[in-house]
C-alpha cells in the first residue's frame, strides 16, 4: 500500500526534475558573461568543494581574491579521506568564524576504474542530498576534484525542482591545458558556468566555457 503511494508521489516529481534539468543543461547553462546579472546586495552563501592537495590550494587561491564579506558564510566540503585540506582551510580562514567544514565519502580515488567509480559516486551522491538540502547555497564553487560531481548533480536536481537557485561555477584546474578532466567533461554540462584557464578549452570546440 505504501510502496505504490510513494511511487505515485515520487515518480512525477522525479520526471519533472529530469525534464527540467535537461532543459537547464541544454538551454540555460554555459551562456557566459553575455547575460546581464542583477546586482546582488545580500552576501551569497558559498559552498566550496575541496579536493586532495592541488585542488584545495587552487580553489583557495581564487577565494583569496574574493571579498569574504560578499561570499559568506562559506561552507567547505572535503572528502573523508582528505588529511590536509582541513589544515589549509583553517590557515586560510584564520580568525574568521563565518565558515564550516563538512566531510563526505570520496567519490573517486585517483586511478580508480570507471566501473567502480559509478558505485562510489552513487554513495557520495546519497550523502550530498542532505548536505545541499540543509545548506541551500547561493553559489557552488568547485574546480573538479571527484568529490564535486555528486554535489553538483544534487545541486542541479534541486535547481531543476525550482527548490532553490544555486549557481554552480566550475573552474577547470590550471593543470588542464589541452583536455578537460573526467569531472570537467561532466561539469561542463552540469555547471551553470565553466571557467577555463587555457585557450584550447575554449573557442569553437567548447563554446560554453569562459576563458580568462
Amino acid at each position: 500500500m505504501v510502496f505504490p503511494l510513494i511511487c505515485v508521489l515520487v515518480y512525477p516529481i522525479v520526471v519533472f526534475a529530469l525534464i527540467r534539468a535537461a532543459y537547464l543543461v541544454v538551454f540555460e547553462h554555459g551562456k557566459g558573461l553575455g547575460r546581464r546579472v542583477a546586482p546582488r546586495h545580500a552576501p551569497a552563501k558559498t559552498l566550496i568543494v575541496l579536493g586532495s592537495g592541488g585542488h584545495t590550494s587552487e580553489i583557495l587561491r581564487v577565494l583569496r581574491h574574493l571579498d569574504r564579506a560578499n561570499y559568506a558564510p562559506r561552507v567547505y566540503v572535503q572528502a573523508q579521506t582528505d588529511r590536509v585540506s582541513r589544515q589549509k582551510v583553517e590557515e586560510f580562514e584564520g580568525d574568521s568564524e563565518d565558515y564550516r567544514l563538512h566531510a563526505i565519502p570520496r567519490s573517486r580515488r585517483v586511478g580508480q576504474s570507471y566501473l567502480t567509480s559509478i558505485f562510489t559516486t552513487a554513495r557520495a551522491t546519497l550523502h550530498a542530498f542532505p548536505l545541499i538540502f540543509r545548506e541551500k547555497p547561493d553559489l557552488l564553487l568547485c574546480n573538479g576534484p571527484g568529490t564535486c560531481v555528486p554535489l553538483c548533480l544534487v545541486a542541479l536536481f534541486f535547481n531543476a525542482l525550482l527548490f532553490r537557485e544555486t549557481k554552480i561555477v566550475f573552474v577547470e584546474s590550471f593543470c588542464r591545458v589541452e583536455r578537460f578532466s573526467l569531472s570537467g567533461r561532466i561539469l561542463y554540462y552540469l555547471a551553470n558556468h565553466t571557467i577555463v584557464q587555457w585557450p584550447k578549452l575554449n573557442g569553437s570546440r567548447y563554446p560554453r566555457s569562459i576563458f580568462v
Partner: protein
Amino acid sequence: MENKIVFVTVGTTTFDDLIITVTSDEILHQLNARGYKSLIMQIGESQFVPNCSPRCGFSYIEAFSLKPSLCETMKSADLIISHAGAGSCLEALDLKKPLIVVTNNFLMNDHQVELAKQLCNDGYLYYSTCKNLLELIIKMKLSELKTFPGDKSHAIANVVNKLMGFP
C-alpha cells in the same frame, strides 16, 4: 661558503620513483657539483624510506611525509624539484624559485604532462621524467628561466564576481 638547498616535493600522492632517482649517487654528485649541499624531501604517504645519511658531498639529507604548508621549506630552497601537481608548481613559481617538474607516468591519464610541457615551452621551468633527470641536471641553465607572471586567480575571481552580480 654557500650551502644551497634542494627541495623535492611529491604532494599528496606517492612518487617513490622520483625519490629513488633523486637520492641516487649520480644525481647527488651532479647537484653537489652545482653547489647544492642540503637535500630536503617531502615524500608523501609512502612506505619507502630513503637513505638519509650524508653522502656524495651532501652534508644534510632529510625526508618527511606531509606538512600542511610547504611554504617555509620552499622559501628556504634554492632549487625545487616537484611532481607536476599544479598546487606545488604554482607555489614554487610564485616564490620565483628555479623549478624542475618531474612527471609521474603512473597516474591514470597523463594530463599532468600537459601543464609541465606548456610551462616548459613558455620558459618558466624545466620538465623531465625520472629517466632523463640526470641528463637535465647536467645540461640545465637555471639563470635562463623566465619569471612567472602569476596565475589567473585574480581574473577568475573577477569573473565569479560578475556572475554573482557583485561589483
